[in-house]
C-alpha cells in the first residue's frame, strides 16, 4: 500500500475535524477525496504530509510511519496545498530552483518528469510568481511539488477557482503522472470530477461516507431517479415535496431529481398529479444517478443515524 490510514482522528478544541478515518491507497492509484468545504480534507492532507499530528490512529505513507519517520516522508512526497504557497517575489525559475535545491536535486536531473507541465510556463521563467495568472501559478506549484521525483503526490483542491479549460488540463496532467507510477491523492469539492479518479472516498463532517470506484457508487444507488421538469421550477419543487411517499427532491440543473419511497411508484401517476396542480411543460423520465445523488443520499442517511 502506498498510503494507509487506520482510525485517524483529529479535533480542534470542541470541533471534531476527523473521526476514525481508515482507508488504503494502492501503489500508482489516482484516489479522490471528495467532499464539501469543511469536510476535513485539508486536515487529512496535513496529517499525511506530517505537518500536523493526529489525536489518534496510525498512518503510513510509502511505507513510512507519519510520526516516527516524518523526515523520510517529507523527502518522498510532493504536496500542493490548496492555497498558493510559493514565493511570490521569486521568479518562476527561482522558485523551481529553490525547491530542487532543498531536496538536494537539480531542475536538469528530473526535468523529464515536469517537462509536460513546465513547458507551458517556461517562456515566462523570469516573471515573478506573484504576477502569474491562476492557471500558470498552478502549473508552477505542480512543477515544484514534483521536482524531487516524489513517490506520492498530494494535491489539495487543485481545481478550486480554476476555469474549465485549466481544470481539464490539470486532470490530463494527473493521468500522465499516474502513468509514470506516481500515487496521487487529490481532493475536490466538485463532484463531477469524481469520475476521473480510480477510486474515491466521499467525506463529510470528518467522516467517510463511502469508498469505492465511482462507477460502482453510481451503479449501486438504491432507488430509481426521475428527471422532472415543468415551466415553473420553484412551484414544481414545492409540489413534488407534497407528493405522497416522496423520498427526495433536489434541483439538478434544469431538471429536478425525484425519488419515491413507494416501490410501486408510477411516473404516469406523478404526471397526473402535476397536471392537477396546473403545471405546464411537464416531463418525467428516468435518469442515471450521479455521484452527487449518491453523496446526498449517504449524507441524509448518516444524519438520520446521528439524530
Amino acid at each position: 500500500m502506498s498510503i494507509s490510514l487506520k482510525n485517524i482522528g483529529k479535533s480542534y478544541g470542541a470541533v471534531k475535524a476527523l473521526s476514525n478515518i481508515s482507508f488504503d491507497v494502492k501503489q500508482g492509484e489516482l484516489f479522490g477525496l471528495i467532499g464539501p468545504d469543511g469536510a476535513g480534507k485539508t486536515t487529512l492532507f496535513r496529517i499525511l504530509t506530517t505537518l500536523l499530528f493526529p489525536d489518534n490512529g496510525e498512518a503510513k505513507v510509502s511505507g513510512y510511519d507519519i510520526i516516527r519517520d516524518f523526515k523520510d516522508i517529507r523527502s518522498h512526497v510532493g504536496y500542493m496545498p490548496g492555497r498558493f504557497s510559493l514565493y511570490q517575489d521569486l521568479t518562476v525559475e527561482e522558485n523551481l530552483n529553490f525547491f530542487a535545491t532543498i531536496f538536494g536535486t537539480t531542475i536538469a536531473e528530473n526535468y523529464d518528469l515536469i517537462k509536460d507541465i513546465y513547458e507551458h510556463i517556461e517562456p515566462f521563467k523570469d516573471r515573478r510568481a506573484g504576477k502569474l495568472s491562476g492557471g500558470m501559478k498552478q502549473k508552477l506549484a505542480l512543477s515544484c511539488a514534483l521536482i524531487h521525483k516524489p513517490r506520492v503526490l498530494f494535491l489539495d483542491e487543485p481545481t478550486t477557482g480554476v476555469d474549465p479549460v485549466s481544470r481539464k488540463e490539470l486532470w490530463e496532467m494527473l493521468k500522465r503522472l499516474q502513468q509514470k507510477g506516481i500515487t496521487i491523492l487529490v481532493s475536490t469539492a466538485y463532484m463531477d470530477e469524481a469520475s476521473l479518479c480510480d477510486r474515491i472516498a466521499l467525506i463529510q463532517d470528518g467522516t467517510i461516507l463511502k469508498i469505492d470506484r465511482p462507477q460502482v457508487i453510481i451503479d449501486t444507488f438504491p432507488s430509481k431517479i426521475y428527471n422532472v421538469k415543468a415551466d415553473s421550477t420553484y412551484r414544481l419543487l414545492q409540489d413534488l415535496a407534497l407528493y405522497p411517499d416522496t423520498h427526495s427532491v433536489y434541483p439538478f440543473g434544469e431538471y429536478s431529481h425525484f425519488t419515491s419511497a413507494d416501490p410501486d411508484f408510477k411516473p404516469s401517476d406523478l404526471m397526473r398529479f402535476l397536471q392537477e396542480k396546473q403545471h405546464s411543460g411537464i416531463e418525467v423520465s428516468e435518469t442515471p444517478a450521479t455521484i452527487e445523488d449518491a453523496f446526498m443520499e449517504l449524507s441524509k442517511a448518516s444524519e438520520l443515524i446521528d439524530n
Binding site: P36, D163, P164, A189, M191, Y234, L237, G253, E254, M296
Partner: protein, 244 residues
C-alpha cells in the same frame, strides 16, 4: 415600462488602451429570469459585470439595468441591485444579526423595517440559536444562505451572484438554489457569473464569453443540442480557448 427587460445591453464595449476587454456585446435579460454569464479567466466577464453594476464606465455602447442607464444613473443602478460573491459577502467578525443591521443600514433601511426584516430572516433560515454567533463560526453553506438573504434586504430588482455555491455541500447547495428560484418566481432577476459549469445548468439561459465577445447565448438544453454534447462543461470546452 412593465415589459422592459431587467437588463438591456447594446454594443457595450470597454477598452483598456489598445486592448478590447469587452467587444460590443449585446443581450437582454428578462424580468424573473435566471441568467448565467460564463467565460474562462480573462474572457472579459468581470469587466462586463463591473459596467453592469455601475462601477466602471463603458468606452462605448449602452446598458440599462433595472431601467437605469449605467453611464448616467450609476447610483440608481446600485440602489436597484444586490450583489453576493463567494469571496466576499459577510463580515466574519460580526454576528449574523450585526451583519444584517450593517448591510441594511448601508442601504438606508429605517430602523423599524430593519428590526422586522432581521427577525423575518432569522425565522426563515431557522437560525435562532445562531443569530448572535460570529459569522466566522458558521459552515460555508449557511454563510452563503445568510449572504443571499442579506443581499435581498433592500428588495433589489436584480441580484448579481458571483460563483455563489462553489465548495458548498450538495444538500445545502440545493437549498440555496431553491431560494434563488423562489426569488425568481417573485420577479427578481438573477444574474449568475461562474466558471463552474454545473452551476450553469441551473440557469434559464446562459451566455458564454470568449475573448471579449459573446460566442453563444441560449438555454442550456439548446446549447447542448447545438454542440451535440451532454453537459454545459463540454459546451464550454468546445467554445472557450485558453488565452494564457
Amino acid at each position: 415600462m412593465k415589459n422592459d427587460p431587467a437588463i438591456h445591453v447594446e454594443n457595450l464595449t470597454k477598452m483598456f488602451g489598445d486592448f478590447t476587454a469587452v467587444n460590443s456585446i449585446s443581450f437582454q435579460v428578462g424580468k424573473g429570469e435566471v441568467f448565467g454569464f460564463l467565460g474562462a479567466n480573462g474572457a472579459g466577464k468581470t469587466t462586463a459585470m463591473k459596467m453592469l453594476i455601475g462601477i466602471s464606465k463603458p468606452t462605448s455602447g449602452q446598458a440599462r439595468v433595472a431601467g437605469f442607464n449605467v453611464r448616467t444613473h450609476a447610483e440608481e443602478v446600485k440602489n436597484s441591485i444586490g450583489y453576493m460573491s463567494q469571496k466576499f459577502s459577510l463580515y466574519n467578525d460580526l454576528t449574523i444579526k450585526e451583519n444584517i443591521v450593517f448591510f441594511g443600514g448601508i442601504y438606508g433601511l429605517p430602523k423599524s423595517v430593519l428590526k422586522e426584516k432581521t427577525q423575518a430572516l432569522v425565522d426563515e433560515l431557522g437560525l435562532h440559536d445562531h443569530a448572535d454567533a460570529l459569522v466566522r463560526s458558521l459552515p460555508l453553506g449557511w454563510k452563503q444562505k445568510v449572504a443571499f438573504s442579506v443581499a435581498l434586504l433592500h428588495n433589489p430588482k436584480i441580484i448579481f451572484l458571483d460563483e455563489p455555491t462553489g465548495g458548498v455541500d450538495p444538500i445545502t447547495r440545493r437549498q440555496f438554489w431553491e431560494m434563488i428560484y423562489r426569488e425568481a418566481s417573485k420577479g427578481v432577476t438573477i444574474f449568475v457569473t461562474t466558471h463552474y459549469m454545473d452551476e450553469a445548468e441551473y440557469c434559464d439561459r446562459v451566455s458564454i464569453m470568449v475573448e471579449g465577445n459573446i460566442e453563444a447565448l441560449d438555454t442550456p438544453n439548446k446549447l447542448k443540442e447545438r454542440y451535440q454534447v451532454g453537459s454545459m462543461n463540454e459546451v464550454f470546452l468546445k467554445l472557450a480557448r485558453n488565452i494564457e
